[in-house]
């Protein structure tokens, strides 16, 4: 089914990436008509699961934070995955006054159902289901997608962060991508002027992609560093990558390039803070 709201974020375990997850949920809430209280519940629980990965999964080292949101038969399903140590619940009693997170009780209290899984290959997967009136008739979860845009390929810098976003259908991308890019542009020290340019560009990209991708999912690879935002969008249908985006790309962007990936094209975009 093409129209099931679905977003996948392949992020790193940086604390500031939790904000991207929250912005994604806010955008999604608009398209599936969650009320602000439902959104607040979901956002709080999911933040706890993400913070858990950020703070504890890798013991100070870098590692992936993968988040997948889709509207399943029971409501909204959110999966937060890490590739860290795995769950080893400690069952022995502990002093209640010991400093400790309240993450788990919060997740339990706010979700309809939660499972903690250990996927093969290690790590922890927190699978949360939020039964929402809006989610109830959204149909089954989409099958796993193979295609993904390549993340801009540059040597790792301490300050740069790389991520990939898969998102669809168009209405969801339209609500989510500008929000995520707004948060990233803010992180890259863009002025509010440029942030809003970035959002206009995101709008245009989503509208453009709707006519030039074969699936209903848009793939965006992103590299964010101080004063720079780079994106790889695609795969797009051959010959369509930058077609019709001319003025928007020229004025709002700071350079773009079309490369070929097999029979398809990838649109690479460069955005700078300017001043």
């Amino acid at each position: 089914m093409a129209d099931i709201p679905h977003v996948r974020l392949n992020l790193s375990n940086r604390p500031e990436n939790v904000l991207l997850v929250r912005q994604t949920l806010s955008g999604l809430a608009e398209t599936i008509e969650l009320d602000p209280i439902e959104l607040n519940d979901i956002s709080t629980a999911v933040s706890e699961a993400c913070n858990n990965v950020v703070l504890h999964a890798y013991e100070g080292a870098k590692g992936p934070l993968d988040v997948e949101v889709c509207a399943g038969s029971e409501g909204l399903e959110v999966v937060v995955r890490d590739h860290g140590g795995g769950i080893r619940p400690r069952l022995e009693p502990r002093d209640e006054n010991a400093p400790g997170g309240i993450g788990l009780p919060v997740i339990h209290a706010l979700s309809t159902r939660v499972e903690f899984l250990e996927p093969p290959g290690g790590g922890t997967e927190v699978r949360m289901v939020f039964a929402t009136p809006a989610g109830a008739d959204l149909g089954p979860a989409p099958e796993e997608l193979e295609l993904q845009a390549a993340v801009p390929d540059t040597e790792p810098e301490e300050l740069a962060d790389l991520m990939a976003i898969t998102i669809g259908p168009g209405s969801v991308a339209h609500a989510v991508l500008p929000r995520v890019l707004c948060a990233l542009a803010a992180r890259a020290y863009f002025s509010t002027d440029r942030i809003s340019d970035t959002q206009l560009l995101a709008d245009a990209l989503v509208a453009h992609a709707e006519g030039s991708i074969d699936t209903s999912r848009l793939n965006v690879g992103i590299r964010v560093a101080p004063r720079v935002l780079e994106m790889n969008v695609g795969p797009l249908r051959a010959g369509s990558a930058a077609d019709g985006l001319g003025a928007v790309l020229e004025t709002l962007g700071d350079g773009h390039e079309v490369s070929h990936a097999g029979a398809s094209e990838i649109l690479a975009l460069h955005l700078a803070a300017r001043r």
């Binding site: 904000l19 929250r22 806010s26 009320d35 602000p36 209280i37 607040n40 519940d41 709080t44 933040s47 706890e48 858990n52 990965v53 703070l55 504890h56 999964a57 013991e59 890490d82 860290g84 795995g86 769950i87 080893r88 619940p89 400690r90 022995e92 009693p93 502990r94 002093d95 209640e96 006054n97 400790g100 997170g101 309240i102 993450g103 788990l104 009780p105 919060v106 339990h108 209290a109 922890t124 929000r179 707004c182 948060a183 803010a186 020290y189 863009f190 002025s191 509010t192 002027d193 942030i195 809003s196 206009l200 709008d203 245009a204 509208a207 019709g244 003025a247 928007v248 004025t251 001043r275």
Partner: protein
């Protein structure tokens, strides 16, 4: 390590002897001193939940009060004999209290008061800083200036984009309306079409459907390549309004060019 991280331990902990005694003293004998000790002990929990659940919404002090009320209810209802940790009982009770407060205060249907106030403060600060510096501030600068966190500023920027209310569209105090409209008049219909041909051949054919002020702003951004702040200054509206108008007219253009028969 995930084990610590998930903090399964706290949910399985049983109340220690002194805690148990405090609960018994309060619940069976109405000993207020015992209750006070319990409140002091678990206030950090209420505070932490208010911060997590209520972020970006109501003023923190209001939420803390609601969370404290939830804590008091939990202290009354907790059953020591069942052997569960107080925390795992209190968390849903306190969250439930805050949730009810949001429902009762119309949060589900209105933009929360706190968020609304923040959006206005962000908009005003953005304008003031842009005027003082001659260019738009960054989110970090706004956050520092207003003592908000970055997420609050970002949410405010989104809110300003989304608000369709008249209040945000109303002329800004001190803005020179005539300057804006006369500039609009001066470019005229056909003129604007001609100049915006560069924008896109298909687009130019539907530009006539875009109101004059929006056309003028499109031209300033895409033909003259002015920044949004520069446009705001010339037209006498805020940069946020420029941003919103641009977004709206680009959406409109896209819809028009896609509509059958639009490109004549």
């Amino acid at each position: 390590m995930s084990a610590v991280a998930l903090d399964t331990a706290t949910t399985h902990a049983v109340p220690t002897q002194d805690l148990r005694e405090l609960f018994v003293r309060w619940q069976t004998r109405g000993d207020h001193e015992a209750r006070e000790q319990l409140v002091r002990r678990f206030m950090p929990l209420a505070r932490s939940l208010a911060r997590r659940y209520g972020r970006s919404s109501e003023p923190f002090e209001d939420l803390l009060q609601v969370a404290s009320l939830g804590l008091l209810k939990a202290l009354d209802r907790y059953d020591v004999e069942r052997g569960h940790a107080f925390q795992s009982f209190a968390v849903p009770t306190i969250l439930g209290e805050m949730r009810r407060y949001f429902r009762d205060s119309g949060w589900a249907v209105h933009v929360p008061r706190g968020a609304q106030e923040r959006a206005l403060k962000v908009r005003d600060a953005q304008e003031r800083m842009a005027n003082e510096r001659g260019h738009a501030p960054t989110v970090n600068q706004l956050a520092e200036y207003l003592e908000f966190d970055v997420e609050e500023v970002i949410d405010a920027l989104q809110a300003i984009q989304a608000y369709e209310t008249v209040s945000l569209d109303a002329p800004r105090p001190g803005a020179d309306d005539d300057a804006g409209s006369s500039y609009g008049d001066s470019i005229g219909g056909d003129d604007a079409r001609y100049e915006l041909v560069e924008l896109d051949a298909t687009v130019s054919s539907v530009l006539g459907h875009i109101p004059p002020r929006e056309r003028m702003i499109l031209k300033m951004r895409f033909v003259e390549d002015l920044t949004q702040t520069e446009i705001a200054e010339r037209v006498g509206i805020s940069q946020m309004q420029v941003s919103r108008l641009l977004r709206r007219s680009l959406d409109q253009l896209r819809a028009l060019t896609r509509a059958p028969g639009a490109a004549r």
